[in-house]
């Protein structure tokens, strides 16, 4: 740069808004950043049928935690706290998860909590740990998520509503089943079945292609010695689960069009354009950048910001639509700065509505498929998205990623991550 241009750009940089906004501000590295050095998950398997149908959530968690220690090379004694998101486990799974951490090789000094923010529990776990690191409460932690929908999905997930709750118009709406309210939302917001099926078909096709290309191999930790009872012969077998088993090849708009609506005769939502019931676990290792550098941990990326918002319980599907602008605002960037989106496909209807309403580029969203194709183990998904996001950012050489999901009872969460 020659004289006048250099002088002008020097003045321009001094006049730039402060604190810095835009991409420059989110990609800068500083010693107190919260960085990710490992993000792994188990395969996701079909609820009630798949490879993990007889495996306890705690065992899935122990497995992914053990792999986190092995693959990252972290000294488990340095992990001070662990948050595990789960939705269906009675008692929040708190007791089992503490035991699972010990089984995985963590010493008694590593504390463990479970938490439940419905479908965003896995993300909430990562954010809780990130915030604890930011505040200086801990230096190293794990945000995880796990769900065995095979063993724990059912009527016990919600206790009976009191008269007090039933008497409140919005309060009572909190217990309306997801399928029913999504059906109503699809109708109210005029989200056509054909569009939902097209979205779902694309999810399947992308996931099939990604699985064939081995794109999930890096994030998945295969699990061997899994006990599995053959439903036909009732014979117990020992199997190895290495792949997502919910991904179905050959799904097209035409095949999906044949499936009957699940929640209303004239409805648009069916088994093929809603997320699958699945089992799985995921874990994300987070620490302060200065600590990662001191330990020689390989930094995958950093956590920048997160948002959580509330919406009407009956419109829980619009959560990402509200949460995403919020997190972008916090980080000071625009939606066009984002290279990759992982938005949970709870239902094709709500995901599609959010994408269209936000005006996002379809090609940048869930390029390897989503929950419709490979499943949504409720409490796990938020942590799963982190591994899928970072692996895709690495493959494509991109930097800025957002994960988001809608949350039952009417909430939304989103988080911004930067690949390094």
């Amino acid at each position: 740069m020659s004289g006048p241009q250099a002088r002008l750009s020097s003045i321009t940089s001094q006049l730039s808004p402060y604190p810095p906004r835009g991409i420059a501000s989110v990609v800068t590295k500083s010693a107190d950043d919260v960085v990710i050095t490992s993000a792994l998950r188990t395969p996701f398997t079909k609820g009630g049928k798949g490879g993990f149908k007889d495996t306890h959530a705690s065992d899935l968690l122990a497995h992914v935690l053990k792999a986190t220690i092995e693959r990252s090379g972290i000294d488990p004694a340095l992990v001070e706290d662990m948050a595990v998101g789960t939705v269906l486990a009675p008692g929040g799974g708190a007791t089992e998860f503490r035991a699972a951490a010990l089984v995985a090789g963590f010493p008694v000094s590593t504390s463990v909590k479970s938490l439940n923010r419905q479908c965003s529990s896995g993300l909430q776990a990562c954010v809780d740990i990130a915030n604890a690191i930011k505040n200086g409460m801990i230096d190293v932690g794990i945000g995880a998520g796990v769900e065995s929908m095979s063993l724990q999905y059912g009527l016990n997930a919600v206790s009976e509503f009191s008269e007090l709750l039933e008497a409140h118009p919005e309060g009572k709406n909190c217990k309306v089943p997801m399928g029913l309210l999504s059906e109503k939302m699809a109708k109210d917001r005029n989200i056509k079945r054909a569009d939902q099926d097209a979205f779902a078909a694309r999810s399947y096709q992308r996931a099939v292609a990604a699985q064939k290309a081995g794109k999930f191999d890096k994030e998945i930790v295969p699990m061997s010695n899994v006990k599995w009872t053959d439903p036909k012969s009732e014979e117990e077998k020992t199997i190895t689960v290495a792949k997502d088993d919910g991904i179905r090849d050959g799904m097209t708009v035409e095949t999906l069009a044949k499936i009957r609506p699940a929640f209303a005769k004239d409805g648009s939502i069916h088994a093929g354009n809603a997320s699958q019931i699945s089992d799985g676990a995921a874990a994300v290792l987070l620490m302060r950048r200065s600590t990662a550098e001191k330990l020689g941990q390989k930094i995958i990326g950093k956590f920048v910001a997160a948002s959580v918002v509330g919406v009407e319980p009956l419109l829980m599907g619009i959560g990402p639509w509200k949460a995403i602008p919020e997190v972008l605002k916090k980080a000071g960037i625009s939606k066009d700065d984002v290279d990759l989106w992982e938005i949970n496909e709870a239902f094709a209807s709500q995901c599609l509505w959010c994408i269209n309403e936000l005006g996002l580029d379809q090609n940048k969203i869930n390029p390897n498929g989503g929950a419709i194709a490979f499943g949504h183990p409720l409490g796990c998904t938020g942590a799963r998205q982190v591994s899928t996001l970072f692996n895709e950012l690495e493959r494509t050489g991109k930097r800025i990623g957002v994960t988001s999901m809608c949350v039952g009872t009417g909430m939304g969460m989103a988080a911004l991550w930067v690949k390094e």
Partner: protein, 349 residues
């Protein structure tokens, strides 16, 4: 308020003569210092207002100046072409000496206030240089490896000097230390480090590093230095305890702060000039603590005392008059205005 127009030249720095209460000098540049000539104005304060006593034209923009502390007619100027020029008011037209060692724009010059026999300069080339007016080459080069907008000697010690640079750090050099790999550097303070956490107070927001553009040594309190820049706030530090973070953070400017100067008369008063076109007077909170500022960044009980809004472009230079009643000062800006005013007239604004 007195006003003078440096017609065709945007002001970059103004300094009162340390010898005469009625003389000041302005370093200026055509086309806002982006391209073109520079001009050094010698101005006299008379009963009829400000008059130009003399000026010197230079090939490139002038960004700063310093009066000689030993010779009442001499002053040095920092030029965009990397040169430093020594002018004598008694000699017309040309500088009596010129030094060309810096590889980029020289942005600050400062005369040694104690020994009075050397001066220092800092440049965008990432170096500070120490010079003697009697030597054709620099005496010492102190690297900062970062565009250095401001360098100044301690008012107490002939061998201490400090600098702030675009890497958001304040550096302190002690020329008495042996020349070693450290190049006399004895302290490096990250300016953006947060103030210490206080019980019962919300944590101060995390501030990313930003370019530091100006700094000044307190004239009464040893080891107290103020620095400011692109993040719009002025911070004061105690160089004996830099790890404690800033003593005070003065928030209020809406754009980068380009120049700050401690009062020569009072130990807790500061003057600042900013790209937001204002000059502001501050109390740093070291004496009487003010009411808590509403600004989330503010810290330490300092507060703004007044504000001068007469500049119509970037205000980039301020200096206090050393003589007479306390409060008189001068400011320059890109509006080609030199303003001489009394801060007491803007109190409460």
């Amino acid at each position: 308020m007195l006003e003078f127009r440096t017609q065709g030249f945007a002001g970059h720095a103004v300094k009162y003569s340390p010898f005469f209460d009625s003389r000041l000098a302005v370093a200026s540049a055509a086309n806002f210092g982006l391209v073109g000539n520079g001009r050094l104005h010698i101005l006299g304060l008379t009963a009829n207002g400000i008059v130009a006593e003399k000026w010197f034209d230079t090939q490139d923009a002038l960004y700063d100046l310093a009066w000689s502390e030993i010779h009442e007619n001499q002053l040095i100027a920092a030029a965009g072409d990397g040169s430093i020029k020594l002018f004598d008011i008694g000699i017309d037209q040309f500088p009596i000496q010129s030094w060309q060692e810096h590889k980029r724009e020289v942005f600050a010059v400062h005369w040694n206030l104690v020994s009075k026999d050397t001066f220092c300069s800092s440049s965008w080339d990432g170096c500070i240089k120490i010079w003697s007016p009697h030597r054709p080459e620099s005496l010492t080069t102190l690297p900062t490896h970062s565009c250095t907008y401001s360098a100044a000697y301690s008012p107490r010690s002939p061998s201490l000097l400090s600098a702030v640079s675009s890497d958001s750090h304040l550096r302190l050099f002690d020329l008495r230390t042996p020349a070693s790999a450290a190049n006399h550097l004895i302290l490096s303070v990250p300016l953006h480090s947060p103030p210490p956490a206080q019980i019962g107070q919300p944590r101060s927001p995390v501030i990313p590093p930003s370019e530091a553009l100006t700094h000044d040594w307190n004239k009464y309190r040893d080891n107290i230095v103020a620095a400011a820049g692109v993040d719009r706030v002025i911070r004061t530090f105690d160089l004996r305890a830099p790890q404690q973070g800033p003593l005070s953070i003065l928030a209020g400017h809406e754009y980068a702060v380009r120049k700050i100067a401690w009062s020569p008369h009072l130990p807790d008063i500061l003057l600042s000039a900013s790209y937001d076109m204002t000059c502001r007077v501050w109390n740093d909170g070291s004496g009487v603590k003010g009411p808590e500022s509403a600004d989330a960044l503010a810290y330490g009980g300092g507060r703004q005392l007044g504000q001068m809004n007469n500049h119509t472009e970037f205000a980039v230079g301020v200096d206090w008059c050393l003589f007479g009643s306390e409060g008189w000062c001068a400011s320059v800006g890109w509006d080609e205005k030199v303003l001489v005013w009394d801060v007491r007239a803007v109190m409460g604004q």
